[in-house]
Subunit: 253 residues, 2 copies
């Protein structure tokens, strides 16, 4: 049986280029070349290629393989032992590398958290600033400098985890508020629950809690367009009013 380059290549699972390369470096010459210059391989070459591929699978370089298959008394065992030693060294190096990469990943992880923390610190400052700009005057007038300052201080002292907790509580309130509005009744269980959550949320910000202040804040949500818009956007039209009604009911109990 005779084979052209492609035939042999497919049989052996290598590319035609590989066979041409092996011919080029003298590792595997075709049995003959036909009149058109086509490489023709026969069974002998098939076998030889099998040998070559076997050794190649072991990671030996073509030069070594060349010697192994062309020199009958070439010390195969010794060659393999050398190769084995090299592979072990390579693995040892790889192990170290992996270890180092892992260490670096760990420290990089630490740095990412650090960076996020830094960003968060900046974020908090910016938020306070914005709050002051937006609501500063009114709020300070209503609740007094002390309460506002303490609130700001509280925010400054907050860790990212704390903040995220408060934030998620805030989100919860908005969701539950939307649901509670479906009852249409600010005194329904759902609505009263939302009011209770809002109290909890508030205590995160305020040092001291009073029913009056709570009801006052709720009223502000209705009076101040910016707050009204915020609640209406998040929980639906009339949310600010509904929330105020629920809180007024809750605080008068």
């Amino acid at each position: 049986m005779e084979y052209t380059v492609q035939k042999l290549a497919q049989m052996a699972g290598v590319s035609g280029r590989t066979l041409r390369y092996y011919d080029e470096i003298g590792l595997l010459k075709p049995a003959r070349v036909n009149s058109s210059g086509y490489r023709i391989y026969s069974q002998k070459e098939v076998n030889k290629l099998q040998h070559i591929l076997f050794y190649r699978e072991l990671g030996l370089n073509l030069d070594t393989i060349q010697k192994l298959i062309s020199t009958p008394d070439f010390d195969r065992y010794e060659t393999l032992k050398d190769h084995h030693t090299k592979l072990l060294r390579k693995r040892a190096k790889l192990d170290k590398l992996i270890e180092n990469v892992e260490k670096t990943m760990d420290s990089e992880k630490g740095r990412i958290v650090m960076t996020d923390k830094e960003k968060f610190e900046g974020f908090k400052d910016k938020m306070i600033e914005e709050n002051e700009k937006k609501y500063g005057k009114e709020i300070r007038k209503k609740y007094g400098d002390d309460t506002v300052n303490r609130s700001n201080q509280k925010l400054k002292g907050m860790s990212q985890e704390d903040y995220q907790l408060v934030e998620s509580l805030g989100q919860d309130i908005l969701t539950k508020l939307e649901k509670a509005m479906e009852t249409g009744d600010p005194e329904s269980n759902e609505a009263q629950e939302v009011a209770a959550m809002h109290k909890q949320w508030l205590t995160y910000w305020w040092e001291s809690y009073s029913k009056e202040a709570h009801a006052g804040l709720a009223q502000m949500y209705v009076d101040d367009d910016r707050f009204t818009k915020y609640y209406d956007d998040k929980s639906g039209k009339g949310a600010a009013e509904f929330l105020r009604d629920a809180i007024v009911s809750y605080t008068s109990k």
Copy 2:
């Protein structure tokens, strides 16, 4: 502080070529180039090189390093994780490779032993043939076909280990013989010990042992030039005679 290529290279433990290459690919450009075309690096480049080398140590390619250090918000952790995954895959492949090489080594080892065995078989045949050619007639005349045939058969049935054992005993005899000769007395303890060893050696070859045959063989060592020469070569002049005397004395006890 400013550095030329060599200075920086030495500081950082890389070659000048490496720095030129890094310049070439735009990884690390010198701070400036002086009027003669010399690359001049300053502290900033030293630091950058440190970063590059750090990542290089982790096995990252220069292209990736380029991105890591030039793009500030490039995801370092993600990059390292990818790299880590690649390294783990590489190690898994290497492990398989090593396993395969070990398997091949084992089977190759088996084949070497086989080969040695085959060679040994051939060697034994050749030895018997040679013995027959050299000493066949005389020995067969003296000890009879049976003894010789049985001796040959014994050799044929010998394993390599057996043979090596007999051979080393033979070597021992030669060494001890040389020492015993220093006493100048074939009846000395040393000489008698050599005779005893020779008896042991002989029983490896002969099915049955007799004092007469032993003494007869000893005499042949003297009578036959080839044996005489052998012993004289190995253990010193007069060794064959000395051995005969010792054996004669030993067998007459």
